[in-house]
Symmetry: C2
Subunit: 463 residues, 2 copies
Amino acid sequence: MPDFAPVAARLAESAEANREALFELLHIPSVSANPDHRGDCRAAAEWVRDFLANAGCTAELIDTGSAEEPGHPIIFAKSPRIDGAPTLLVYGHYDVQPPDPLDLWTTPPFEPTVRDGKVYARGATDDKGQMLTHPLAVAAWHATHGGPPVNVTFVIEGEEEVGSDHLDAFLESHREELACDAAVISDTSQFAEGVPAICYGLRGITACEVTVTGPKADLHSGLFGGSVRNPANALATILASLHDAEGRVAVDGFYDDVRDLTPEERAAWAALPFDEQGFLAATGSPALTGEAGWTTLERRWARPTCDVNGITAGYQGPGPKTIVPSKASAKLTFRLVPDQDPDVILAAVRQHIERHCPAGVTVAVKPYHGTPGVMFEPNTPPFEAAKRAIEAAFGTPPVMIRGGGSIPVVRSLGNTLNCPVLLLGWGLSSDGLHSPDEHFSLDAFQRGALASARLMWELAQEA
Amino acid sequence: MPDFAPVAARLAESAEANREALFELLHIPSVSANPDHRGDCRAAAEWVRDFLANAGCTAELIDTGSAEEPGHPIIFAKSPRIDGAPTLLVYGHYDVQPPDPLDLWTTPPFEPTVRDGKVYARGATDDKGQMLTHPLAVAAWHATHGGPPVNVTFVIEGEEEVGSDHLDAFLESHREELACDAAVISDTSQFAEGVPAICYGLRGITACEVTVTGPKADLHSGLFGGSVRNPANALATILASLHDAEGRVAVDGFYDDVRDLTPEERAAWAALPFDEQGFLAATGSPALTGEAGWTTLERRWARPTCDVNGITAGYQGPGPKTIVPSKASAKLTFRLVPDQDPDVILAAVRQHIERHCPAGVTVAVKPYHGTPGVMFEPNTPPFEAAKRAIEAAFGTPPVMIRGGGSIPVVRSLGNTLNCPVLLLGWGLSSDGLHSPDEHFSLDAFQRGALASARLMWELAQEA
C-alpha cells in the first residue's frame, strides 16, 4: 500500500498551482445554454481532457449529438490500470449557468477574483471548482506514485445545466468500460460551514398537470352564475382534497411504500446543527410548517410531498371580470421517497383526482416524467471510506444527510452501472450557485482535493 | 282620455317609415369605446335629439366630461307638459359595442340589411332598435293627439357600453327635472321567442381579489417542498372552503338577509317554458348544477353565488416547473340577491377567508366595488299597466321574470329618482348582442313601439 503522506504533501505544495489551474478553467465562459458559447464549451472540455492527460490518464473527448443537433462533448478518462484494484468513477460537469444578470456581479463572472479567501466566478462552486478536486487528486497521485492506488474513471460532461440530454446514451453505450465499485460526485454542499456532509439519499419526483373543463367558453357570471359548475371552484376543491388537515397527502395508498425513517436516522438528524431560524429566513415564509409529526429536516429529506407549482384559470388582468371561466388548470409535483414508485403514485393521484372531481365539469390529468427516490446504505465500505477521507481532510467527521431534490445523474449512474453513489459536496448552499457573485472557498477547494486523494487511498485499503 | 285606436293605426301605417328611421340610426357607427368614432357618437346623439324634437319634445344635447376628457353627449328630452299626469322616464343608449371581428359578419355591421324578417346591424337590438320604440311611440301620439297622455322624459346616453361614466352625475344634477312615477328600459330580452317578459328584479354583486403570500420568492420544490406552506395549495384550501358539499356558500351569515322566494314565484317560474336542454347546450357544460334544492332558474335569478373568476399562481408555461410559488391569487364575484348588503357580505367573506387561511402563509383581501340586488313589487300599478300594454301589443300576457346579472343604471335610477323600473325587453337573448351578426326582429320592433305607446295610455288610465 503506497504511503499517503507524499500525496498530501504534494497537494499542499501545489496549492498555488492548483488555484491557477482552477482560474484557467473559470476563465472559459462555457455556458452550455447559449449557442454562442459552443466553442467555449469545447475549449473547457479540451482543457479538462488535457489536464487529465497531464495527470497520467488516457483521456478522450467524445462528441455527442448529431451533425444537425450537436451536443457538447463528454470527457472520458481513465487512470493507469491496476488489475484487481477497486474502481472509482468520478462524475462532474464543466458547463456553467448563464451569468445574467451581469450588472449584479461585483467583478466580471469570467474573471475569477479572490476576496476574503473565496474565488468569485461563474462555475466556481457549480461545478468547476468542486469537480476539479478529483483531477487534482489524481495529479497528486500521479506526481508522487505514478498514479492513484485505485482505478479512477472520469465522466465529465458539458450539458448538466441544460438537462444532460446525451449522458444516458453515453452511459448505456459505455456500460462495460464504466463498470465501477462506487461513483463520486462533488456537486452538492456541506451541511453548513465547517460541517462536511455525505448525502446518501435523494427524493424522487412525479408530476402532472390537471385541467378542469366546464362551459365551452367563459360565461357571464351574472347570467349563468349558479346554474353551472365553475371549473375554477372545482379545481380548488380537487386541489384542497389532496391534503388532510394534518398536512398529510390524502391520496389513498400514497404512503404505502414509504420506507420508514429509522430511530437512528431520526436521532442523528435531530443532533445536526440545523439553523432552523436561518432556514426560515432564507425562505421568507411566515413560518415553517407541513406534515404533522415530523421535523423540518425530516419533511424535506424523508417525507413525500404534494406541491401545486402553478395554477391558471380565467381572468388574470387588473380589476374584476365577471365570468365563469371555461377552464382551470394546475401543475403538481409530488416529491417521492424510497420506495415509492412514480407510476404507482401517479395512478393513485389520477384516481383520487377523478374521484374528487365534482359533477358538472370534466377533469383530465396529463402525466409528466417521474423518477424514484434513491437511497444508498450509508454503512457500507465505500461510505465508510468516504467518512474517513473527509475526516482526514476536514478535521471533522462528515454528517450523514439526505437531500430533498432529485439529481437525475445519480439515478442514471445507479441504474446503468448499479453502483453506490457518494455525494461529497465541498461547497455551501450559500455559494450563490446559479446566481450573481457565485463563489467557492479556496480552503474547501484545497481540502476537497485532499479528501478525494484520501478517498482513493481508503478505497484501496478496503480492497 | 284620448282614444288609443288612432295611435295604433298611425304606428301600423308608419311601419315602413319607422324602419327607415331605425336604419338611418343604425348606419351611424357610434362605437363609444373607439375615440375615432367620437364624431359618430355625436352624430347619433344629434339624430336622436332631432327625432325627439320632430316628435314634439323639447330636446337638448348635453355634453359630458371635461375639455380634457370629453364624454359622449346625453340626450335629455321631454314631451309636452301635462299637469297632473303621471311621468314616465325612458332610459336608453345610442352607443354600440365595437363590431369586431368584422370578418364574421355576413353583411357589414353598419349597413343594416333585412333577412328573414330581421334587421342585421351592430346596435340592432342593443340598444338602438329597442330604444327607438319609445320615441316612435311618442311620435305616434304626437301625430294623432299632439302628444302622449302622460309626461314622458327621455334620457338617452352614449356611454352605456363603456361604463356610463357620466350618467350618475347627470342624474344627480338633474334630479328634480327627472322626477317620475316609473322608468322604462328596453335593453333586455323576452323570455323566449313569442314569450314577452317583464323583469322585476336583478341580482347585485360584490367582488374581491384574494392574494396568498408565502415565501419571498419561488422556491425549489425539492429543496424546500414539505418545509413551508405552499401558497397555491393554501389558496385552493381557502377557495374550496367557500362552498359546502351541497353547493351552498359556506360563509357564516351569507344567507341571513336573502329574501325568500314566495311559493307564488316558485310556482310561476316552474310554469315558464324554460328550455333547460337548450340552455345547457348554450353553456357547453356537461351538466347544469349548483346549490341543492333550487331549480336552474331559481339559482340564476334568486339565489346568491360565489364564483372564482380567475386564478393565477406560479408557473403557467408549458411543461412542469418544480417550484413552490411565492404567491397565489384569485378573483371572486358574489352575485347577491335582495336584501343582501354588498358591504356586509364582503366583510363576512373577508372574515371567512382570514379564518380559513392555513398557518405559514398570509392572506390579503382586496375589495372591489359592489352593488346590491334590486327587486320591484311586480303587482303595483306601473307593472300592471305594463302587463296590459304588452298583452295588447304582443297578443299574449308577459311572463314575470328576474335576471341574474346587474344593470347598474337600474340601481342608479332607483337610487336617484326613487322610482320603479320597468325592464321591458323586446329582443331575444339569441339576437347576438355584442357579437357578429347582431340582429333584431322587425316584428318585435313594431310590437315594441305599440307596447310603448299603449303603456303611456295605460299609465294615463291609472292616474
